[in-house]
């Protein structure tokens, strides 16, 4: 065990993956010598050489196009997109190519070995273009998995699982807590399962569902609610697609209430999918409408960032609204 922050855990996972399999390659803008603007790929070039950890030209569509080809050849690309906000030039390569590669070829060719890492989320005074949480844009594209860790331990285990999983994974890193989230992380190799949510705290009155950096906000809100005598069950979804509807449904059958929270704008966010599915699966058990505490339907503002964020106070209010329905 070692104390690591989230960045160190990611770096550590990359080292383990690259040591184990020399087909694993890490690349992206400033990823090489510099180690990435957040330093997630620090020292990889020194350790594994310039051929396996390198800078690319400044083109996200190129990075993912290149990575798709490299994956289809049998290598294990771990491509970094410097900010989640800059993943959109690669949208076609991800949604039309990565996600459909295997299906269109009847399984002859795949990008299954591809992992795309990108930092996401707000709370860092980043404004419109350094704050977005784009998971929902990708959740509508069957064929890729989307994974979001909430802390260093999760980050390492889920990243190793993502790299090894035989499906392309979009691995979204909560940059607000890159350094703030520190915890015990085994130095050895381990993986955590994709597609499985985790119940962080059991409770009886309401299910709180979120992922990534939003988890600590759920915990804070749950504490507030606890003081009001409301017992929350907290679930970390961990994998956005394919998401673990069973764990969520089981919890909602028990609590009768569900609140989902994400930073991305409300409309068309992934909470909508969860709400739509759960209202169907748990129709007769729901005691109040499913609450969504999300970002506003605006671009991400800088000056009003605090107001924009689905913070613990808003989540708390949502909990109380739900239990008092």
């Amino acid at each position: 065990m070692a104390k690591m922050n989230l960045l160190q855990a990611i770096n550590n996972a990359l080292i383990i993956a690259m040591e184990e399999n020399d087909k694993v390659m890490a690349f992206g803008e400033d990823v090489g010598h510099f180690g990435g603007v957040f330093r997630a790929t620090s020292n990889l070039q020194e350790k594994f050489g310039k051929a396996r950890c390198f800078n690319t030209p400044l083109t996200e569509q190129g990075i993912i196009g290149f990575a798709n080809g490299l994956a289809s050849q049998g290598s294990y690309p771990v491509a970094e997109i410097q900010f989640g906000d800059y993943i959109f030039p690669a949208f076609d390569q991800i949604v039309n190519e990565t996600a459909k590669f295997r299906y269109r070829s009847g399984g002859q060719f795949t990008c299954g070995s591809l992992t795309i890492r990108t930092p996401y989320g707000g709370g860092i005074a980043g404004g419109l273009y350094h704050s977005q949480s784009p998971e929902a844009f990708f959740a509508h594209a069957a064929g890729i998995k989307i994974v979001v860790p909430r802390n260093p331990y999760q980050a390492k285990g889920l990243l190793l699982a993502s790299i090894r999983d035989d499906n392309p994974v979009l691995f979204m890193e909560p940059k607000r807590i890159y350094r703030a989230s520190v915890g015990d992380v085994p130095e050895d190799d381990y993986t955590l399962p994709l597609g499985k949510a985790e119940v962080l705290k059991e409770g009886n009155d309401i299910t709180l569902l979120a992922w990534g950096a939003q988890m600590e906000i759920m915990e804070k809100a749950a504490e507030m609610a606890d003081k009001q005598g409301v017992s929350s069950e907290i679930i970390d979804l961990r994998t956005i697609t394919p998401w673990d509807a069973e764990t969520v449904a089981q919890s909602v059958v028990k609590t009768g209430r569900l609140l989902i929270s994400h930073e991305a704008p409300l409309t068309g966010g992934f909470a909508a999918e969860i709400a739509a599915t759960i209202q169907k699966k748990c129709f007769l058990h729901l005691e109040s409408p499913i609450e969504r505490i999300c970002g506003l339907d605006t671009p991400y503002p800088l000056a009003h960032e605090k107001e924009y964020m689905p913070d613990h106070l808003k989540v708390f209010e949502g909990i109380m609204r739900s239990v008092n329905f």
Binding site: K23, M25, A51, R52, F54, T56, P57, T59, Q61, G62, I64, G65, F66, A67, N68, G69, L70, A71, S72, Q73, G74, S75, P77, P89, D92, Q93, N96, E97, K100, R102, Y103, R104, S105, G106, G107, Q108, F109, T110, G112, A142, G143, K145, D166, N167, G195, P242, A245, E246
Partner: protein, 397 residues
């Protein structure tokens, strides 16, 4: 900082000097004249009689297949087809210059390359009829071939996407130490996509052994090259990327062969990309959905019909004394028969069972896909007449 790309080696000038079109001459490699005789002083590449005949017959086969399938589409037997008439040399002769271990990533008008690799009439038909014998499982439209055994990447409709992918594939080959390159075909239209820029630049910077083969056939559907770009073709872009570039007459099989052979040598030896621009003309309609008469003249088409690459190669073969007219006639007849027979056979082959609708999305179907399949099968069982292609084999196993 490596100064290679920054200030060193740049001369100073003290008057505003415009760098303009015309300051570089990008000539076109031609070996065969229209009648098949060799240009004076031309370097004829080494081509055995066997290989020459194989190229020739592959081109002929493709012409026959194209003609027959365009007709089949008109008869409503397939939904879509896309012919390469007039451009057979570009695909066939370039593929002929490669090795089997080289990966081919094509756009969609390179059926000649696939045929040269050994794809059979039967395989072509299976794909075009989207049946269960087709390795891609009939999921894409006709002509979206793909065959892992032949190192021919399954075609994807979105244009240009294969260009950066080819850079990545080639990088992987290099890392694996394989004596192989990736060839990436695309049209001059597709070269306008951002992915073209990304792919060529990355290949150059990351030293990827890839051949970027542009078929400049003058049109992208109805859009003439003059409304596609204002530079000197696609070749002139090679310079900007620092990529060695060859322009070749795409209707001259020997020239295409020579250019590609050389490109492959460079790519492999120097571990770097090479760009080839093959000048040709899309004699065919863009596809069976298109009618070119509204956007170009019969005269223009006729002018290019005269530059038929098959005739040109035939002329050379004849001059070599390699052309056995009698044998070739028989061969053509066999091809025609085979195409007809396969057309008949294939119409009897069913599409994949419905279970395949959810496979290959992921390595294993996820819970939501399983749920959806279960519901779908129950639904089909309830309304079998509405889903005749699959209801008969619902519970096949």
């Amino acid at each position: 900082m490596n100064t290679r790309n920054h200030l060193s080696d740049i001369n100073s000038v003290h008057q505003v000097k415009l760098i303009e079109k015309g300051i570089v001459d990008i000539p076109m490699l031609q070996i065969l004249q229209p009648d098949g005789s060799v240009y004076k002083g031309a370097d004829v590449p080494e081509v055995s009689k066997e290989l020459a005949i194989k190229m020739y017959e592959t081109m002929q086969f493709i012409r026959i297949l194209d003609e027959r399938m365009v007709a089949a589409q008109r008869q409503g037997r397939i939904s879509f087809y896309l012919a390469s008439t007039g451009e057979e040399a570009a695909a066939v002769a370039s593929a002929a210059a490669l090795e089997p271990q080289d990966m081919i990533m094509s756009q969609y008008r390179e059926q000649g390359a696939l045929a040269f690799r050994g794809y059979t009439t039967q395989q072509f038909m299976n794909q075009m009829f989207s049946n269960e014998q087709e390795p891609n499982k009939g999921r894409q439209m006709p002509i979206h071939y793909g065959d892992k055994a032949l190192n021919f990447m399954t075609i994807s409709s979105p244009l240009g996407t294969q260009i950066p992918q080819a850079a990545g594939y080639a990088y992987g080959q290099k890392m694996a130490g394989e004596p192989a390159v990736t060839i990436c075909y695309f049209g001059e239209g597709a070269a306008s996509e951002g992915d073209f820029h990304a792919g060529l630049n990355m290949a150059a910077v990351l030293n990827c052994p890839a051949i970027f083969f542009c078929r400049n056939n003058g049109y992208a559907i109805s859009t003439p090259a003059a409304e596609q770009f204002a530079g000197d073709g696609i070749a002139s872009r090679g310079l900007g990327y620092g990529i060695k570039t060859i322009r070749v007459d795409g209707n001259d099989a020997l020239a295409v062969f020579a250019a590609t052979k050389r490109a492959r040598e460079i790519a492999l030896e120097e571990q770097c990309p090479v760009l080839i621009e093959a000048m040709s003309y899309r004699l065919a309609a863009h596809s069976t959905s298109d009618d070119p008469s509204s956007y170009r003249s019969k005269e223009e088409e006729a002018k290019w019909a005269d530059k038929d690459p098959i005739k040109r190669l035939a002329g050379w073969l004849a001059q070599q004394g390699w052309l056995d007219e009698e044998a070739n006639k028989k061969e053509l007849e066999t091809m025609r028969q085979e195409v007809l027979q396969e057309l008949k056979r294939v119409e009897q082959v069913p599409v994949c069972v419905i279970d395949e609708i959810i496979t290959d999305v992921y390595d294993k179907p996820t819970w939501n896909l399983e749920e959806q399949l279960t519901e779908l099968k129950q639904h089909i069982a309830k309304y079998p007449e509405a889903y005749p292609k699959t209801s008969g084999r619902l519970n096949h196993g």
